[in-house]
Amino acid sequence: MHQIPSVRTYVIIWAILTLMTFVTYKVAQIELHEWNIVVALLIAFFKMMLVILFFMNVKAESPLTKLFAGAGFFWMILLLGQTLIDYISRAWMPEGKMW
């Protein structure tokens, strides 16, 4: 069926994932102000991509499966984006109150 990745590939991905877990744990202790959350989420996103592409083997799946996996991202962007646009912009209104 699909090409079978080697054990070596899986172990390398595991090593990177474990290393990134350590990195995110350590970076959280460094004061970066509003960038702490950005760095934490970027690392989490990177780890997620490794799991999806290699462990879940989406890299080798059919284009249709890739489309469906991608649809999940699109939906999350809509959900978080639209919601945040609403809540953030409320503060811009004159006499605006959150709730």
């Binding site: 474990t18 959280a28 989490a44 799991v51």
Partner: protein, 231 residues
């Protein structure tokens, strides 16, 4: 490659090929796609909670950072590492199934379950610590936030998110261990072969998805405001 497999399945009439599919390849692709559709509904399920979390955290940033001090980031990091190991053994189990290595498949499924259960064990220790520390909101007599009274009410919101998000994640882990048990029994009965391993593959997809949810829960719940003491 794909055509060869299809042709083989048609000629030999593989016992696991359902009549409404043309080939083993087509059957496998359909099952994988179906699993991804299910995972999309799971993204919607967890996505709603992540979205609500984002709104409340952006509204009460100091309260969330202060409340996060009650989480033990070391336990969180250890559990992340444990889940990543379980994901590795799951990926290797799927690989063994594809190669028709039945013994390795069974062994790796057991390893995956052991690490899954270890995760749940650590989670149980953490929940017990929160219970003893009086950090369980909504339950009378188990909530005390006198160390930072200015955040007493918002801290309950943060802890509600914590318990609901990690709780539903833990529930998914329990289901995952149940799935692995089923797959292990099927493997022992000799259901799988290099031609047929679809249940192993799609259970693996589920396991990795649950891992991904935790990859986001860890920094969002445990690693806020770690650079300074906020009390």
């Amino acid at each position: 490659m794909a055509d060869t497999h299809g042709a083989v399945a048609e000629h030999t009439g593989h016992s696991q090929l359902r009549h409404h599919f043309d080939s083993m390849e087509q059957q496998f692709d359909s099952a994988t796609l179906g699993m991804w559709v299910f995972l999309l509904t799971e993204i919607m399920f967890f996505g709603g909670m992540f979205c609500a979390y984002t709104v409340y955290r952006s509204t009460y940033p100091e309260a969330f950072a202060s409340t996060s001090q009650h989480m033990n980031p070391l336990w969180g990091a250890v559990n992340t590492a444990v889940l990543i190991v379980s994901s590795l053994s799951m990926a290797l189990a799927v690989r063994a199934a594809r190669l028709g290595q039945q013994k390795a498949l069974q062994l790796l499924l057991i390893v995956t379950m052991i690490f899954g259960l270890a995760f749940l064990g650590v989670k149980a220790i953490e929940y017990h610590e929160h219970w003893v520390d009086m950090k369980v909101p909504l339950i009378a007599g188990h909530w005390d936030y006198s160390e930072a009274p200015q955040f007493a009410r918002q801290a309950q919101i943060m802890f509600c998110f914590y318990f609901f998000m990690t709780g539903f994640h833990a529930l998914h882990m329990v289901v995952g261990v149940g799935l692995m048990t089923t797959i292990l029994i099927m493997a022992r009965k000799g259901t799988f072969s290099a031609e047929y391993f679809t249940p192993v593959e799609i259970s693996g997809l589920y396991w990795h998805f649950v891992d991904i949810v935790w990859i986001f829960l860890f920094p969002l719940l445990y690693l806020i405001g770690r650079t300074k003491t906020i009390f």
